[in-house]
């Protein structure tokens, strides 16, 4: 089979150039991305590491298949093979070789599936409930409830029980583990297994309504001792603000105004559970599940007009004077069990 070469039309190089250019752009951007990225390719947790190594295998195999088949396609434009045995060509190229590649992929699938879904069916260490549009996080047996931040100890698998009472959400921390949906009426489990202390970005991955984009959270992995300290600091009620302080005035605003109808602060009459528990509000990094940073200025805007920051949020605008607002902000900032002093 010696097909005569024939002139091309200048097409094939351009197709390749286009493909390669796209790959280069993407590769460059990938290389340039900083530490802030919740990249599945920069994994820390056990399941995510297994998946990342599986990805590199898939990319390698896929790249090889692409190169070979694309090469054949381009060759078929430049050459003729008059005596080609079509049946053999199809059986070998279209069935046998792909079957071998798929068998390799299949075996790896089974292996990694075992690794990723290991440690299932244990008692929950943390219960996370998806809400429109935030995360309720509680630690069974400790009474500790917080929101939008999941603290876990490093070095051991931590089982999360995932629940939802409203719509479907999905909990995804790409650097730690693949996502698992939170389905009303069907609790699911997810095992996180962080190796190193650090803060890992997470986000809701199932469309859950208007503010799906602002349903973010962080997982804070800590050394076991630090994690225990963090948890202990939240057991029981926070100390009451010093008499006469601005925070004490703020506490009164909190209890008198609508706040306490929806929010809880342990040790006060505020027992609302529709909104996030605010017992450790002062220690949180963000407002509105990752919508805005938790600094006094933004918090002041949030308590008066949350929808201006997060349109559609269920928390309504609240009429507060400037003085009341400052006092309330001071109170909420004081609810920080990690600061060491009330």
């Amino acid at each position: 089979m010696t097909p005569p070469a024939r002139p091309g039309r200048g097409l094939h190089p351009a197709v390749m150039v286009a493909t390669v250019a796209g790959a280069l752009v993407a590769g460059a951007a990938l290389a340039g991305c900083g530490d802030g990225s919740p990249s599945a390719l920069d994994p820390d947790g056990g399941p995510a590491r297994h998946v990342a190594s599986l990805w590199w295998l898939l990319l390698g195999l896929g790249g090889a298949v692409y190169a070979v088949v694309a090469g054949l396609i381009v060759a078929s434009w430049r050459r003729r093979a008059a005596g080609l045995d079509v049946n053999r060509f199809v059986v070998v190229g279209g069935l046998a070789v792909p079957a071998v590649v798929l068998a390799v992929v299949g075996v790896q699938t089974v292996r990694v599936t075992g690794e990723v879904f290991a440690n299932q069916g244990r008692t929950a260490d943390v219960v996370v409930e998806g809400e429109q549009w935030w995360w309720r996080v509680s630690y069974p047996g400790t009474g500790v409830v917080t929101a939008n931040t999941i603290h876990i100890p490093t070095g051991r698998p931590v089982t999360l029980e995932l629940r939802s009472e409203d719509v479907i959400h999905s909990l995804w921390v790409p650097q730690l583990a693949p996502k698992v949906d939170m389905i009303p009426g069907q609790p699911n489990q997810l095992v996180l297994d962080a190796r190193h202390p650090g803060t890992y970005q997470g986000q809701c991955a199932e469309f859950c309504g208007l503010q799906h984009a602002h349903m973010r959270f962080v997982v804070v992995a800590q050394k076991p001792a630090d994690f225990e300290a963090w948890l202990d600091a939240r057991r029981g009620a926070p100390p009451a603000p010093a008499p006469g302080s601005e925070a004490e005035a703020g506490r009164q605003v909190f209890l008198d105004q609508a706040c306490s109808g929806c929010h809880r602060v342990a040790g006060t009459e505020a027992e609302g559970t529709d909104g996030p528990d605010l017992t450790d509000m002062g220690s949180r990094a963000s407002l509105g599940a990752g919508t805005a940073p938790n600094d006094p200025e933004t918090l002041a805007r949030w308590v008066r007009d949350a929808p201006s920051l997060k349109p559609g949020v269920l928390m309504p605008p609240i009429q507060l004077s400037e003085e009341e607002t400052q006092a309330l902000v001071a109170y909420l900032d004081s609810l920080d069990p990690d600061s060491g002093a009330p």
Partner: protein
């Protein structure tokens, strides 16, 4: 068996009128003007109408995509806002799947099936008209949501409970749910029509192994539609029962099952991908042999691959639900099926490559788009294998990796072949040539900008960017890539626009097209461009899968005296009839009269349209009026007199 008497076609110099043409025109021409427009049952007018309507919707959904990309071009952008963004992505997906891709392929199927099969219309011409009017009605119904400011914003998949009565309190979801039930009627009626047409109306001698591959792809697609579409109709219908009648089928608070909806939806949803894909590869399999001047290599392999894809596609739906907590063992089965479905695609690739190796490829504009398809679908198929891998899928599902994957498949592997088909068959449909120069520009802009639009989305997904978010914070490594994607998308839109301009301009001003501009091999190229209303004056007799490439060209049948053969010849066409054939070998078996222009399909469709609005506004009187009108028209339609039954 009835013997077919064969004659050589009567070849005369072009332009010389034939005596029978006036009689044929009298038998086949629609009434002039608007009356003809509303009453036609001509599969060609209906097919073109499907394609034009679908392309209008395609342009609209494309503009919606550009709106989304403008919003996502930069982090923390406020251009569009959450409500509008959610409406945009919901309607973009809904239109592209339900109102563009499915109908545009139905349009090509409609136009081409009778021509490729060598018959004078579809098996049920009035049902065909009805399918189109339903499609138009359902599209109008869904889009009218914008007029009342209640545009669906819960995703093209409309998962419960977000779409249930508790969380979606206005009528937006009803526009979607009733619209989906509505359009399902059209798709199903169309599929049944395709199935029967390809079974009963093949030209004499067109045995199963001589059916053109595009027809096979439509057959496989229609089989899938018949089994898959009821599932989505059920999903949307039960959702509407929850919403309109207060049932609690999907309400977990009252013991309903949330995941049942997803199972029903994806039992249709995954076959749907192949419902779109198969006719597209059927187009590719029609164009590559013509561009290569070589018969399709491995015809039997290709047909088997089509049918295998159609069959296996029903065993993969759970891979859309791997993150819902399906037990790993059960998920493993669906993971395996999702891997195996790559094999038929591998077979298809090697058949295409073999065809091109055996032949000599000419890069006409249709072939350019097919080449783009070959490169892009290869990548989309490979990422398809990746997302079939259970542990990898749960990592990237609902991220931009998936958005990238399915745009490689639905845009690269479906829209590119559709563009190829537009360039390939426009001369046949309209009788004019498209500009090849504009076509090449359009192709190159599209194929290059495609890489910049969709390739980076893979990376974004791996970098943790979820789908369906209207904005994102800067500094997560997503900023540059999103800007690249947005610019790429705008350029892609420009490429699409060039083809739309090309079509609009050439429709009236293009150079007149010859009957067979490409040197085609199937029967549609044996008739004039544009196709005469009666398709074939005398029905061709087929003894080859590429009848036009047989030495001497196709012979045509002469009419006989008996019921089985009287419609084969010109007299059959003059009597507005077409032959019915039977058996694997397609032997003449009867004569089918083709109904004339009629208002009935439009009336039934209009009745259903009114019913949909009645259900939407929960108005019993409107519902009753619509149903009564529709049923009355249907009874009229189905009424048979003794004369008919004779």
């Amino acid at each position: 068996m009835t013997a077919v008497e064969e004659v050589r076609p009567d070849v005369r110099p072009e332009g010389e009128p034939r005596a029978e043409e006036e009689r044929l025109a009298a038998a086949w021409e629609d009434p002039p003007g608007l009356i003809g427009f509303f009453t036609t049952v001509d599969h060609k007018r209906i097919g073109v109408r499907y394609i034009v309507t679908a392309f209008v919707l395609f342009a609209l959904a494309g503009l919606m995509a550009l709106g989304m990309r403008a919003q996502l071009a930069r982090p923390d952008e406020h251009l569009v806002g959450p409500q509008a963004y959610n409406e945009l992505f919901t309607m973009h997906g809904t239109i592209m799947i339900f109102l563009f891709n499915t109908p545009v392929l139905a349009g090509f199927g409609n136009y081409l099936l009778p021509l490729m099969l060598g018959t004078r219309d579809m098996a049920f011409p009035r049902l065909n008209a009805f399918s189109y009017w339903i499609f138009l009605g359902a599209s109008t119904f869904m889009l009218s949501s914008a007029l009342v400011g209640q545009v669906p914003a819960t995703g093209w998949f409309a998962y419960v409970p977000l779409t249930g009565p508790q969380f979606a309190t206005d009528r937006a979801v009803d526009f979607w749910g009733l619209g989906v039930v509505f359009i399902g009627i059209s798709t199903t009626a169309g599929a049944i029509n395709f199935l029967v047409t390809a079974q009963k109306l093949r030209a004499p001698g067109m045995a199963l192994h001589r059916i053109p591959l595009f027809v096979w792809s439509i057959l496989a697609m229609a089989l899938m539609v018949v089994f898959a579409v009821p599932a989505v109709t059920l999903a949307a219908g039960l959702l509407e029962l929850d919403r309109l009648a207060g049932m609690a089928i999907f309400d977990p608070q009252l013991g309903g099952q949330v995941l049942l909806y997803q199972h029903l939806f994806w039992f249709w949803g995954h076959p749907e991908v192949y419902i779109l894909f198969l006719p597209a590869v059927g187009m590719v399999s029609s164009i590559i042999p013509i561009a290569s001047r070589e018969r399709h290599a491995g015809y039997l392999w290709v047909v088997t691959a089509f049918l295998a894809i159609a069959f296996i596609s029903f065993g993969v739906w759970v891979h859309h639900m791997f993150a819902t907590g399906v037990p790993a063992q059960a998920a493993g089965l669906f993971s395996a099926a999702s891997l195996v479905i790559a094999l038929p695609s591998g077979v298809l690739y090697f058949c295409w490559i073999a065809t091109m190796l055996l032949g000599r490829v000419r890069f006409t504009v249709p072939m350019l788009f097919c080449a783009g398809f070959l490169g892009i679908f290869l990548a989309g198929g490979i990422t398809g294998v990746m997302v079939a891998v259970l542990p990898f899928d749960v990592q990237v599902t609902d991220s931009y990796f998936i958005v990238a994957h399915f745009h490689y498949v639905l845009n690269g592997a479906v829209v590119f072949p559709i563009f190829a088909a537009v360039y390939h068959w426009f001369p046949k449909m309209i009788g004019r040539e498209l500009s090849a120069r504009l076509g090449r520009w359009s192709f190159w802009i599209m194929v290059i900008s495609f890489q910049f639009t969709f390739f980076p989305m893979h990376v974004l997904g791996l970098l943790g960017m979820p789908r369906r978010i209207y904005t994102y914070e800067g500094g997560l490594g997503w900023d540059t890539l999103n800007l690249v994607v947005s610019i790429g998308g705008a350029v892609f839109g420009l490429g699409v626009l060039l083809t739309l301009v090309n079509v609009a301009w050439s429709w009236r001003r293009g150079a007149p097209a010859p009957a067979d501009p490409w040197g085609g091999d199937t029967l549609e190229w044996s008739v004039a461009s544009p196709t005469p209303e009666w398709n074939f004056a005398a029905i061709p007799v087929v003894d080859d899968v590429s009848p036009l490439w047989v030495e001497g060209g196709p012979v045509v049948a002469a009419g006989g005296e008996d019921e089985a053969t009287r419609s084969l010849g010109v007299e059959g066409a003059e009597a507005r009839t077409t032959p019915i054939t039977r058996g694997l070998e397609a032997r003449p078996a009867g004569t089918m009269p083709i109904p004339g222009p009629t208002w009935l399909p439009l009336c039934v469709a209009a009745g259903i349209f009114v019913v949909a609005f009645g259900a939407l506004y929960r108005s019993i009187p409107v519902l009753v009026v619509g149903a009564a009108a529709g049923i009355a028209a249907l009874v009229w339609w189905l009424w048979r007199t003794e004369e008919d039954l004779r």
